[in-house]
Symmetry: D2
Subunit: 373 residues, 4 copies
Amino acid sequence: MTLEVGVLGYRFMGKAHANAMARLPMFFPDAPEIERSVLVGRDEDALTEAADRLGFASISTDWVEVIDDVDVFYNLGPNHVHREPSVAALEAGTPVFCEKPLAPTLEEADAMAEAARTAGDDVPAGCAFNYRFVPAIQYAKALLEDGDLGEIRHVRGRYLQDWLVDPEAPWSWRNDAELAGSGALGDLGAHTVDLLRFLVGSDDLAGGIERVSGHLKTFVDERPVEGDDETRPVTVDDAYAAHLEFENGAMGTIEASRFATGHKNDHTIEIHGSNGSLRFSLERLNELEVLREGDRGYETILVTDESDPYVDHWWPPGHVLGWEHTFVHENYEFLSAVANGHEFEPNFDDGLAAQQVLDAIERSDDRGEWVSP
Amino acid sequence: MTLEVGVLGYRFMGKAHANAMARLPMFFPDAPEIERSVLVGRDEDALTEAADRLGFASISTDWVEVIDDVDVFYNLGPNHVHREPSVAALEAGTPVFCEKPLAPTLEEADAMAEAARTAGDDVPAGCAFNYRFVPAIQYAKALLEDGDLGEIRHVRGRYLQDWLVDPEAPWSWRNDAELAGSGALGDLGAHTVDLLRFLVGSDDLAGGIERVSGHLKTFVDERPVEGDDETRPVTVDDAYAAHLEFENGAMGTIEASRFATGHKNDHTIEIHGSNGSLRFSLERLNELEVLREGDRGYETILVTDESDPYVDHWWPPGHVLGWEHTFVHENYEFLSAVANGHEFEPNFDDGLAAQQVLDAIERSDDRGEWVSP
Amino acid sequence: MTLEVGVLGYRFMGKAHANAMARLPMFFPDAPEIERSVLVGRDEDALTEAADRLGFASISTDWVEVIDDVDVFYNLGPNHVHREPSVAALEAGTPVFCEKPLAPTLEEADAMAEAARTAGDDVPAGCAFNYRFVPAIQYAKALLEDGDLGEIRHVRGRYLQDWLVDPEAPWSWRNDAELAGSGALGDLGAHTVDLLRFLVGSDDLAGGIERVSGHLKTFVDERPVEGDDETRPVTVDDAYAAHLEFENGAMGTIEASRFATGHKNDHTIEIHGSNGSLRFSLERLNELEVLREGDRGYETILVTDESDPYVDHWWPPGHVLGWEHTFVHENYEFLSAVANGHEFEPNFDDGLAAQQVLDAIERSDDRGEWVSP
Amino acid sequence: MTLEVGVLGYRFMGKAHANAMARLPMFFPDAPEIERSVLVGRDEDALTEAADRLGFASISTDWVEVIDDVDVFYNLGPNHVHREPSVAALEAGTPVFCEKPLAPTLEEADAMAEAARTAGDDVPAGCAFNYRFVPAIQYAKALLEDGDLGEIRHVRGRYLQDWLVDPEAPWSWRNDAELAGSGALGDLGAHTVDLLRFLVGSDDLAGGIERVSGHLKTFVDERPVEGDDETRPVTVDDAYAAHLEFENGAMGTIEASRFATGHKNDHTIEIHGSNGSLRFSLERLNELEVLREGDRGYETILVTDESDPYVDHWWPPGHVLGWEHTFVHENYEFLSAVANGHEFEPNFDDGLAAQQVLDAIERSDDRGEWVSP
């Protein structure tokens, strides 16, 4: 059986997922067969061009029609269009893969997770936290599950970009609270929170994060509209920072910025346990630095051996992978779950959990005090 | 017009090029249309499986038939089968893309280059030195062409792997002088020599390398044959090193090894000029370290900006590329040259030039003295 | 005129300052002449041995006598003995150099700063924040003063050690609130806060830090007393983290830990401005990473050129300095100030300012909300 | 008994050794007592100033008188004055510590080593290869002696500086064959050869180096004389490179340059064995990168623990040492050997052995072929 896939969104994320789907047959021959059936959007011309380039059989400007017709629905649109189509698809029994953050607000995320629970386990509802699928992160996860780092004491995460340093950088939906929910917090922080939950979190929704103290900042209050004389207000954060307290006593500090001059996509995770430590940075995503019991310094491991997660599907040792491979891995796992009617993680509950933490960070910033997710 | 492509070889390189071809339409929409027409090999079963997985329309066990039928012929077989099919294809007026090293011996390389010259410029004969197509290398090339580093004084290249450290690692054609020509020298050194010619070489064949002093070493003399009781002799080098003297007075030191414990695919290039320096390492291929006039230290540049070579075809800044992308770039350039009847570089003369240098290194090692390529 | 120097404390800091004084004549010939006159402590035997080894002419077990006799008084004792002798010395008109943190509590620090102000500018009262005197930090300071980084957006500081990871590591005065004031916060955080005030702070006491949100954590509640069967409670923090908000709008995140497995003395500072960024790490203290306007990545500068701060006194370029050299530099500056009756910075007001921030971090942690220093 | 020390030379090396001697009592209390008795040179005014600054009791312009009067003689003059005073001192039964390279020519080195052998083991004749005394190098030596790296396959050493890149950099004795013997080869290469002999060499003189192939290069043929209109010819190498073949079958590649733009004092050693690898760089001399059996990547060890060689004499973990500390360590060992009438290594035979290798490199370069040391 070939899975017919409908995809809403054809820009950055549309391209990333279409590419991932296209690569499955050659590298993951046991992945389910799929067809990129229909690409959904509003601008028919742009859509036609994109469908052609991204290998879709047809286009549609109405997602309502699509969600019934397809076997799987990908929601890759801006945050504010995550809820409605996703919920509708799930209600129609169609598995959904939705980009992160799950929704602009906690309420919307809640509704989506509720819909996913109602749809049941055999209708997978995935949240596309692709960084879980970096081989080095999976390797780190295994270390942590084996207890190699001992009791976790410190957790650090940061996600640094610099594309808004220039005050003349144009306004976009990402600068708008209505459309995006939040700024660096939701866009980048969602990734960090999810990775920490994945790596060191416990099973409850917020991943064992008991309370948070948040700090949001907007450095530039309005930005020019491209091809226009006017400016529009920036109503989201340009940067955030937060303290976390885990129920097991670990401390966390996380932050993200779009104003970190010189940093392009620097998502760094550091963990210190009683027996060891590790470090990961997305800009060197083939590497993991690990310090185990008895070691004196970090060992820089190139996670490209055949025995490393997913690597046997690709190239020989030392032939490094790129950012896009994370999408291939997550699409492989998600589509396999769909085909087999299995659960997939990260799911909408994971998306909701991240949202709860982000929401708590915003509430904390508002109130100037610690709050619980 | 769609170019029909025939490919000899379906293992490591076959997969790398098939993947590259498959990715062109989505990322390089102006690339010529191609069809992966026929996959050539000897073992029909394996061939059928590979053709299916790699997206080829048909298979053939006889390259002689194929070279006439296709518009382009890829020779990705072991070194000792480079000459015959390539020459035949060129004689038939079929463009050829041949893996490196061009041939096991200088004589064969010579014959191939001769055939390419006879075929003429509108029948491109490319030698697949893919590392020329790393964005950071292209960036470095531009710096050097602009003279930003001044007069070149030192050139250093090394290519370190460790897959033969274990004396029980099985024998393969890569350990055999007849089949491979040489060992680390041809397999790895060819890449290094080509990159140095590309980056700092002059226009004559050997790239301005006037004389060389070579050193070859075989650490383990025989190896077990897999699934067998016998061993076979290792008749190629496990490692080589060479001094180079360039006609412009620059000094070069190059080396490669399959015995560099802990190094998987560490191809490192360093250049010092009178005004600046640069460093590149394949295991961190998105980065280039550059020191320009007036700088005190190396600047670590993440070569992933839209303005960087080829990067506008892929992802936003900081979303790193992998090893395989070099194949997409070289296939794009080669196939475009074929479609347009243009020259392509690196061509067979470049492959021959590298071979001349490798041959000189071997001769020097034999004689214990400096020789000219 | 030779300055007679009296020093209270003969352990780690006593050795560091004695060494610094001993090295001045050879490397800073224009430093004032001094005599290591008297070493002050309680244990006469240990004192005698230390005085001999550290080059002191005499010993005393009563600082009261000493402060009148000497020309300069160094207070290198544990935090809880900072106030009384320092204030008494200043009241006697004797310049004082006191180790950091200035005092265990804000009240004591206040009293000390008051005493220093009363004593007047020609009686220098220095607080020994030695990391201001790392050449790379002075280089960074000059960059920042010149505005090379533009408007400061982000400031990050962390100081990671791991000597308490083992729950059996013995109890010491550093684990006691009465004796030390606080734990990682005062011991390590004082350095970080001072460096940030030095590098990016404004002139008001707290260095332009308007409000803070703090988080303190004690991972191990009691520790064994060495050579004893009992344990004693740990009444200070093992780690702290804090958000800072600067009046100019910059965000800061700082933290320190004695539980960062694998990190020995990792004091790292990072600053992002609208035009550039910089990074410094104490474990590689000869290096500074700088990104200036127009650069794409960090330049790794080895701050060992003759033109670099203090370096002309030492060795040729690339002949790296160590941790202890910071003490030579600060002693040179402090003793020169004493000899010339000039002001010295960092002074007791700087020590007080750091204390105000540390105190605010503790108060914030208590209350669970942001507070102002 | 106090050892009276006479020192010839008061510039760079004079300062480095005087400083080392001055620091012994505080940090190595069991070192023999010494007096910096007499400083020897030609220019009385400069000598007087230096003696004062460097803590010498007296000066002399005639080494002949000095060698009899003192208990130890340090020969820190330019290479061409190494032989005569050193041999005379040894003949007088006075222990000698001579800077490296031992002599400008093999003949002179031979004569010196002969004199040392004649003087006997209780008259130590040390050659000041200070890099043996870096804690990280001693740590590496122990690893290698324990066989942790297995059979050695590859050895790499390079020493990069850039102080002659500018063709207008002034002429000095270091550019003259008569005075210096050779250029980068003797000045920098001597260090590299000695370290390799120390780390992986066997017991015979040349350290198991069976044959070498050398390459010397002079990039700038004449240089201006400072404060003068004339230029003088450069008669030594600006850079060298060499292949080494060890009797145990290991390959070595070494090189040095004064034209490596951006590199100040970059002495890097790399070793690959059948079970592990290591890397060291002088510009980060507190660190050693080690890969042991079973490791996948290099572990970056900060060699500053109490248990590390010499470190217990200094500061707590992570409080890094500098270049000059290597001189303290070697002076401690040498002076202890003198006081106890023991042998000291590296001795004049070690200096001679390095010279043999350097000489072979020069001969090889002359002849254009491999030669034996």
